[in-house]
């Protein structure tokens, strides 16, 4: 048995050596202008874009009256300038396809009661039907905290998480490879175009919220409770095609986990008067107009509920 363990240890050391050496070569050797590694898998992200800009701009030492978190619904739908117009400092830490698994590590490594007066957590059924791979690929290359990156890469329970971290740790970029021009600061990215067409009927695809994402959503709630961060959960306006059974399942789930707590779920999905054609730039993301109207309504509600103090 002792010899077997010795052989396994030798094998492990050889694997580690070959793995690190190969990774190093693939990250450092460019092919047609791009490091070789980006030609070996579709989950390696170049550092840059909204997420890089957002996390490098966010200053955890500052006091924010409100921090918004969630998927692209969050960073495109919650306009910090509307908060500012009401006298509140807000920052948007939402990112593409961010799932509760990813949000958990963002909260854990960036937020506490001293820098966050209120956490606005946007939930969307799509982000609960997602493994978190896409967001982990994005955030492991773009967040400033190694701890957050390691946390979500490990929680992914997928060997791709290890490769993403190897890329991060070996490449250690100091500048982004690219930036997004629709990023306007404070974590917010805006599109001015309108989709211009009527929404279709709601999808009839069966809905199954991933158990692991439900677990992390509950863990996020618990983490906020432990850290004394006031929390509201929200869903922003939706076009009529997004108001089907999928959202019903989410709404019921939110009811089930929030019953008995004081955390409100502010669900604006079915708000009367939503303009399907003019408030969205695609099938489910708010454009500048929609975001401004929605954020105004949200801030009014938060002020009336006492979550944000009226100036």
């Amino acid at each position: 048995m002792g010899r077997l363990i010795k052989r396994l240890l030798l094998f492990g050391a050889a694997v580690a050596l070959i793995y690190v050496a190969s990774m190093f070569i693939m990250i450092k050797v460019p092919v047609m202008g791009t490091p070789l590694i980006f030609r070996t898998g579709d989950y390696y992200n170049l550092p840059g874009g909204h997420s890089w800009q957002r996390f490098h701009e966010f200053d955890p030492a500052k006091r924010w009256d409100a921090v918004i978190i969630g998927s692209s619904h969050a960073y495109r739908g919650y306009d910090p300038s509307v908060f500012a117009a009401h006298g509140h400092h807000a920052f948007n830490l939402g990112s593409s396809a961010q799932t509760p698994l990813n949000s958990y590590y963002v909260i854990e490594h960036y937020l506490d009661s001293t820098n966050c007066g209120l956490l606005i957590f946007d939930v969307f059924e799509g982000s609960l039907q997602n493994t978190g791979l896409e967001s982990t690929a994005d955030l492991t290359q773009n967040v400033t905290s190694d701890g957050a990156a390691w946390g979500m890469a490990w929680a992914l329970r997928d060997l791709r998480g290890l490769n993403m971290m190897a890329l991060r740790m070996i490449s250690r970029p100091t500048e982004p490879d690219y930036t997004n021009s629709d990023y306007v600061g404070l974590g917010y990215a805006v599109k001015k175009d309108s989709v211009g067409t009527e929404a279709g009927p709601p999808s009839k695809k069966p809905v199954e919220l991933f158990e692991r994402q439900r677990h992390f959503l509950e863990a996020c709630i618990q983490l906020c409770r432990d850290r004394g961060i006031p929390l509201v959960i929200t869903s922003h306006y939706a076009r009529s095609n997004m108001r089907g059974e999928a959202h019903e399942v989410l709404a019921q789930y939110m009811d089930s986990i929030l019953t008995g707590t004081s955390i409100p779920y502010l669900d604006y999905t079915d708000t009367p008067g939503i303009e399907d054609r003019y408030w969205f730039f695609d099938h489910n993301h708010l454009n500048a107009t929609g975001a401004r109207i929605f954020t105004t309504e949200l801030v009014d509600t938060l002020e009336s509920l006492g979550y944000l103090r009226k100036p």
Partner: protein
Amino acid sequence: MLFNSFQFLCIFFPLVTTLYFVVPHRWRWAVLLGASCWFYMAFVPVYILILAFTIGVDYIAGIWIERNEGRKRKLLLTVSIVANLSVLAFFKYFNFLNESIAVLVRSLGFNYGVPDLGIILPIGLSFHIFQSLSYTIEVYRKHQKAEHRLGIFALYVMFYPQLVAGPIERPGNLLNQINSTEPGKGIRSFFDQERVVAGLQQMLWGFFKKVVIADRCAVVVDQVYNDPSQYGALSIALASYLFAVQIYCDFSGYTDIALGAARIMGFKLMVNFRTPYRSANISEFWSRWHISLSSWFRDYLYIPLGGNRVVKWRWYYNLMIVFLVSGLWHGADWTYVIWGGLHGTYLILAIVFAPLTVRFSGLLGLERRPKLKRALNVFITIQLVSFAWIFFRANSIHDAGMLVHRLFDTPLAIGDLVRLYNDVPRSMLDTTLALVGLFILIDPIYDAWIKQERPIPTGIRGVALFAALFSGILLFGYFGSTSFIYFQF
């Protein structure tokens, strides 16, 4: 539970293997049976009842067949076969038959209102039904004693490494190892470090084939086969060759993991593949591809039909029947039947034209150059097999027709490949082609090491060769996909 899942690799396999070696030998069967139930129930738990039914029927049938003689014996075998095939027919073929009848009836202008069954096909059903059937047939033929302990028989049918995708074992091999009383053999194996290492190496090779080669090929293959109208001859040809690689790596990868896991515990399962794409003709291909199934059909269908010891037309008929049934065994769709039919046709044509091909190769001077002749034959066999795979992989008869039509009827345009290159994420296509090239070079070497036909280099070189495989999985594995193709059968 998938072999390439976190649950299997990090929980099930280490736990079951450790328990197996820790408990006294007399309780090992219970550990393995419990583990096999857990493994199977990870898919659709209630389907364990189907297995329980076939196990119950064949267990009783085996004992009664052994106790009786004459016609009663035959009757009991018939009951076992009918019960097993009824389960298969109900779960696997009902919808296929129903849809085929509906098409026929509607084409005659009548209404047809029998709905399909809304059920999921139990995983690996065809495999364990065939394994169970081989037991009752062997008992009937008096080649095997009936098993009187239900738990042992259940373990024979349910042995987790080969439960859902084979190899389709025979009682003479697996049941006898489960029943072994000889210390150090089968279920009474000791913990042997060299065997454990060899088993782990075989599993590693299986994972490499599955995760690095098969799952990467699948990305390109799916792109073309799920939308064949968008692609021309070059893309279809490339995707079809890649599917030939994919299915080999997927299935033989599964088999290596199964054989490796069993080997660690001291069981020797049947070899299922012997580098089949090195075959010089279709007959040789079938002696190297899915050997446990082809030998099952040979022993229990082809030979009882008369095999080749009959008049020529009957021989051809026997061959065609075996391959059509083999096609249908794979899946309840006409695409599989055509795939089987093609292989049957290849074999019959090879027999019919054998004198002509000998004369032709003589004219070309190939008889004096056996290596060149073999290389040419291997090349032709790969073309025939790859062409047949088109029907196996196509999503429908309509798609298969379109793929074949476009393969032969669209111009060879480089723009077609450029389109595929752009449709598949770039890193997938170049890396996949590079890895497939590498695999073709290393497959015969690792295969010979794994099957112990050639000694594995010792010392640091041996460690490095398998560490490179493991690192290859980490670096180039396409994770987060996919079941094994043969699970659906």
